[in-house]
């Protein structure tokens, strides 16, 4: 049976258009990042990556991601368990609230944290009297990063756990499994790949967050400069090659994220084919 759009000419034109547009729009920028980073040779690239400020920015960025992931993981699993395994009033509301970080502009996200925890905010004033400063320091960067990345794990888990239903877990409970054992032995094996992908997405967004972090960081070189802020400074200082050296490191993380997603999807489709 012939399907819509199966005529060879239509096929060729549509595939051609999709490939050409994607190459121009998506692939070309990706190639340009690495071309710029290495445009003055590997030596210059290495010099740019290994200078003190860049290394500090890398360490800060990875450190923030390292703290963000477990926080988002605990929250994501708890929320997914709550909304897919129980029915209670306000369930839909919780699912809508979790989307807030996706809709809020990163700059606005940074601003609301600055207003509350900064010198003029009511929490900030109180903390200041104990000599604790959260804004323009790494805790502030961590806080806005958690805000921006918290939906990812929950968003990956909820559709999957909804589709799987709770029969296996109920069976385990009747067989006497309790709390933590139930989760570790029954639920976790079913959701581990979605969980892993959620973590990968959280990481990708955490290392790359710019708008929110630039509001609360103060971007002090060698202190509160994350990698995206560092590359912005280099770019504004007309050190394009240096900026793209840092950008290429972030692009590499993005590419690893895409590869991880593709391989997880391939694994899932292969498992489906067996069933």
């Amino acid at each position: 049976m012939r399907r819509i759009g199966d005529a060879p000419a239509v096929r060729r034109v549509l595939i051609g258009a999709a490939v050409v547009l994607s190459a121009l729009f998506l692939l070309l920028p990706l190639v340009a990042i690495f071309a710029q980073a290495f445009s003055q040779g590997v030596g210059v690239f290495w010099g740019n990556v290994s200078n003190t400020y860049t290394l500090h920015a890398i360490a800060l960025t990875l450190g923030v991601a390292l703290f963000t992931i477990p926080i988002c993981l605990v929250f994501g699993v708890a929320l997914a368990w709550l909304v897919t395994r129980f029915s209670f009033p306000g369930r839909r509301l919780l699912q809508t609230l979790i989307d807030i970080p996706f809709a809020v502009s990163p700059v606005v996200a940074g601003l609301i944290y600055l207003l509350l925890y900064g010198r003029n905010g009511w929490v900030g004033t109180w903390l200041d009297s104990y000599d604790i400063q959260l804004m323009f320091a790494w805790p502030g960067i961590l806080m806005v990063t958690v805000f921006v990345t918290c939906p990812f794990v929950a968003r990956e888990l909820i559709p999957l756990m909804q589709a799987q239903g709770s029969r296996e877990e109920e069976a385990a409970v009747t067989l006497g499994a309790r709390g933590w054992t139930l989760f570790r032995r029954v639920t976790l094996p079913n959701i581990r790949w979605a969980l892993l992908y959620g973590v990968i997405l959280t990481n990708a967004r955490a290392v790359g967050e710019f708008g929110a972090v630039s509001v609360v960081s103060g971007a002090i070189r060698g202190k509160t400069n994350t990698l995206p802020l560092h590359l912005e400074q280099l770019y504004q200082d007309y050190n394009t090659v240096g900026a793209f050296a840092s950008a290429s490191l972030l692009a590499l993380i993005a590419l690893l994220t895409l590869a991880a997603k593709a391989s997880l999807e391939w694994r899932a489709s292969r498992r489906e084919a067996f069933i």
């Binding site: 049976m1 399907r3 819509i4 070309l28 708890a78 029915s87 609230l97 207003l115 029969r167 630039s214």
Partner: protein, 288 residues
């Protein structure tokens, strides 16, 4: 009704919860949402309370700020429209055809989400500047992209490509073969069948994806500021206006503009969620 659905329904109706962890997961979720998502909003309202209504109105309707709304909304609308068409094309090609490199193309679709926005920003600015690979081709032809309104729309379109593709793709995959067959056996031509049969089926997904792309574009910052040029009244986006006020330590001004942005994006998010809920209910025949 499936067995799984039956059992969840029974649990929902039953008095006692079979599975453990209700209290713990509710506690963690509510505490987290309150502390991370809701509490910070109070800072914004606190700041806004210090402004009189007249002062607030003066800030949010100032000429330069209004110009930034126009630039942001206009460019986001163009970007969303471009993405609706481009996204539909890509979803169609990825679902309906087999060709070498298809898996690679599919993986490439997620690049804008995976790539940090600041990286996208400096890359697009470099590519489309007059000395860049694209700029050096386009500018002699009379198309100036970098540091114009077009550049803003381009950056917005780049960061929001995956929304339409990834919402339309699963709906197209789940579309039964009979839909095509019925249309074709009745003798409809491809173009007519596509417009009359496929588009109505995909419409809810296209609207949802385009809506999400639009909301994302309204708030985008990192990808845009490098290519925008940031000329007052011409190429300043609203997110930048908030940033500029902050750098002048004008917290009240920043908050007032932010409240407008926040209100618009939360309203749109709610509208999309309600629309999506209705569409899912319709798909599942009134249940769900």
């Amino acid at each position: 009704m499936s067995l799984a659905a039956l059992s969840t329904r029974r649990i929902a109706a039953g008095q006692k919860r079979v599975l453990p962890g209700f209290g713990l997961s509710m506690g963690i979720s509510v505490l987290f949402i309150s502390l991370v998502l809701l509490l910070p909003m109070t800072g914004l309202f606190g700041q806004l309370a210090e402004l009189s209504l007249a002062e607030y109105w003066a800030i949010v309707t100032e000429g330069r700020v209004v110009a930034s709304y126009m630039v942001t909304i206009g460019a986001a609308a163009v970007a969303a429209m471009v993405n609706a068409i481009f996204g539909l094309l890509l979803a169609w090609v990825l679902v309906r055809y087999e060709f070498p490199g298809k898996r690679l193309l599919d993986a490439l679709m997620d690049l804008p989400f995976a790539l940090p926005t600041a990286v996208a920003g400096i890359t697009l600015a470099t590519l489309y500047a007059s000395s860049g690979w694209m700029g050096s081709i386009l500018e002699p032809l009379g198309f100036q992209v970098a540091y114009t309104w077009v550049g803003i729309a381009l950056a917005m379109a780049f960061t929001s490509i995956p929304f339409v593709v990834r919402t339309v793709q699963p709906v197209l995959e789940d579309m039964p073969n009979e839909v095509d067959e019925a249309a074709m056996s009745l003798g409809a031509r491809d173009g007519v069948a596509f417009r009359r049969v496929i588009i109505p089926h995909l419409w809810p997904a296209i609207v949802t994806g385009t809506g999400l792309a639009f909301v994302r574009s309204l708030g985008e910052f990192g990808a845009i500021i490098f290519i925008a040029g940031n000329t007052p009244y011409e190429t300043e986006i609203t997110a930048l206006m908030i940033f500029v006020k902050l750098q002048e330590y004008d917290y009240a001004g920043a908050s007032a503009i932010a409240s407008v942005v926040l209100f618009v994006s939360l309203t749109l998010l709610l509208a999309i969620n309600i629309w999506q809920g209705r569409f899912i209910r319709r798909l599942h025949g009134g249940k769900g």
